[in-house]
């Protein structure tokens, strides 16, 4: 009995320690971005821009394609039910609302985890194994300032941009069905989508996307920095970063969705 209680206690302590590690990493990066520049330390804009290109610009084609299909799938799925009630004209609003509030940010986050979160873990993990992180420290360069902070900046800027693109492409995907099967014209479908959206819907999605970006960067970089010795370990931390990021993104999604739900009820 005592044994299992101790084990539960140990697991809880480990989880809290992990979350503490993520928070400390994010906190240190926030310090580098917002405080350090006022103390005469320059922010590495060039690194941030190059990361933003990597995280954002290079993800555009694949994200566009995926979210276009998701929009189309959403239209088909919602039409399946709406048809029974003769309410096919609601397809546009169903697609628009579910995309902007939920699926746009989520699909973007999952794609970014696969493309960039894992790459952060692998890049920093390799640098840990080849002693490059130690080399930075002996050169009096703080690894978090140098490697992690630019990634946070890039993600916080690019995640909302990617999410806006995902929303747009999803609605376009939905419109393909709307025009082909639900007697919409392009203009009417778009108009109907826009009418169904409130700024609040779009904003909640974008706020979530920023939180997802912070989560993905923190997990990827933390896993990279805590890589042990050997090539195997790099694989392990990369895998772990993907699994933990997906879980935490869903958790953050749940928390914020619940928060928005209760706030908007008042």
């Amino acid at each position: 009995m005592m044994d299992s209680v101790a084990r539960v206690g140990e697991t809880v302590t480990n989880i809290l320690a992990y979350l503490g590690g993520l928070a400390s990493l994010a906190g240190r990066s926030a310090y580098c971005v917002f405080v350090a520049p006022f103390k005469g330390r320059h922010l590495r804009w060039q690194a941030a821009i190059s990361q933003a290109t990597q995280v954002g610009v290079r993800a555009l084609p694949i994200l566009s394609l995926i979210t276009f299909f998701i929009g189309l799938i959403l239209a088909l799925q919602s039409a399946y039910e709406l048809r029974k009630f003769g309410a096919l004209s609601y397809v546009a609003s169903a697609v628009a609302v579910s995309l902007t509030r939920e699926l746009g940010p989520l699909i973007t986050a999952i794609l970014v985890i696969g493309r960039s979160g894992s790459a952060f873990a692998a890049e920093i993990g390799t640098m840990r194994v080849t002693e490059e992180i130690d080399a930075l420290e002996t050169m009096a360069i703080e690894p978090v300032d140098y490697l992690v902070a630019p990634k946070f900046v890039a993600m916080i800027v690019m995640m909302p941009c990617l999410t806006i693109l995902a929303n747009t492409m999803g609605i376009l995907g939905g419109s393909l069905f709307g025009v082909a099967q639900a007697d919409f014209t392009w203009v009417r479908y778009m108009q109907s989508s826009l009418d169904s959206l409130f700024l609040r819907d779009v904003m909640t999605g974008l706020i979530k996307s920023v939180m997802f970006g912070i989560t993905i960067t923190a997990v990827g970089c933390y896993e990279g920095l805590s890589t042990g010795g050997g090539a195997e370990e790099i694989g392990r931390s990369t895998t772990k970063s993907v699994v933990i990021s997906i879980f935490l993104v869903i958790l953050v999604d749940l928390i914020f969705t619940a928060l928005f739900f209760f706030v908007s009820k008042r």
């Binding site: 400390s24 240190r28 080849t130 490059e132 992180i133 009096a140 978090v144």
Partner: protein, 285 residues
């Protein structure tokens, strides 16, 4: 913090280590190490695998925190100072890692320029000249635009030395400079270390287990075994040592075979565990 600051002395040791103890978790790796390194001297730290020599080197440059003891460097105890003070000292020391630890995404020139770009306000053109000069000094003139992956093992180590010297370091640390190199290239690295000593009167601390190289470059030698200093002295004193364990190391006599199954298992399980995770960045965070 006046108790941590000694008057910088022109003469006297550059590095003084007093009763240094380092622990990984519960296990103590270094058990009270004491030694001094004089200015412009090369100290070679010898020891077998798992003897604690690499841990000692990592502790000297602040990558591991000692559990007890003092490391006096440039008049300050680096075990007791803040991150900012430690960084100020680190700008005056250089470390060459075993595999070079060059940044793979940057050219050789950018690698050498990195500390200058980070810590000085020098013009790009001035940095370029310094980089060329430093690469010339290690025999890599003209390789500025090569990527580290295009260099051979020996060249990577030379480039790493150039980066370590970029800030005009007063003390250079080398981790296994000739490990993994063929004898001719390894001799070239030894020659480079001797040249740096002659030309710039640098203080150098070299961790190695290559005996020939150690005797060639050392002014002082230290043999570490199981976390204790077994012998300390000049190469001649080492050569004439009669201590059985020192003789065993220098004469390359194999450990007696472990014949009992239980003894063998015990030997395997007593190996030290790995270094603490995240030890690096947490300190500063």
């Amino acid at each position: 913090m006046p108790e941590n600051v000694k008057e910088p002395l022109q003469s006297g040791p550059v590095i003084s280590v007093r009763d240094l103890r380092v622990k990984y978790g519960e296990q103590e790796i270094l058990h009270g190490i004491n030694f001094d390194v004089e200015r412009s001297q090369t100290l070679v730290i010898l020891g077998g695998s798992g003897s604690g020599k690499s841990t000692l080197l990592r502790t000297l440059v602040g990558l591991e925190k000692p559990s007890a003891g003092q490391i006096w460097m440039k008049g300050q105890d680096i075990a007791a100072i803040s991150r900012e003070q430690l960084d100020a000292i680190r700008k005056k020391i250089g470390m060459s890692f075993q595999g070079g630890a060059l940044f793979g995404s940057m050219t050789v020139g950018e690698n050498v320029a990195l500390p200058l770009r980070e810590h000085t306000n020098l013009e790009a053109s001035t940095i370029e000249i310094i980089v060329r000069l430093k690469l010339d000094q290690v025999g890599l003139g003209g390789f500025e635009d090569y990527m580290p992956s295009e260099l051979s093992g020996g060249m990577k180590k030379r480039a790493a030395v150039a980066r370590a010297m970029a800030m005009d370091s007063e003390i250079l640390f080398f981790d296994e400079p000739s490990a993994g190199l063929d004898p001719i290239i390894a001799a070239g690295i030894d020659h480079l270390i001797l040249q740096l000593k002659k030309a710039f009167h640098m203080t150098m601390i070299v961790v190695t287990h290559e005996l020939a190289s150690a005797f060639l470059i050392a002014d002082q030698m230290m043999l570490i075994d199981k976390g204790n200093i077994l012998a300390f002295g000049t190469p001649e004193e080492m050569r004439s040592s009669t201590q059985p364990r020192v003789r065993q190391f220098l004469d390359r006599v194999a450990e007696p075979e472990v014949s009992q199954e239980l003894d063998y298992l015990q030997m395997l399980t007593e190996r030290r565990p790995g270094a603490g995770r995240m030890a690096g960045w947490r300190r500063g965070a």
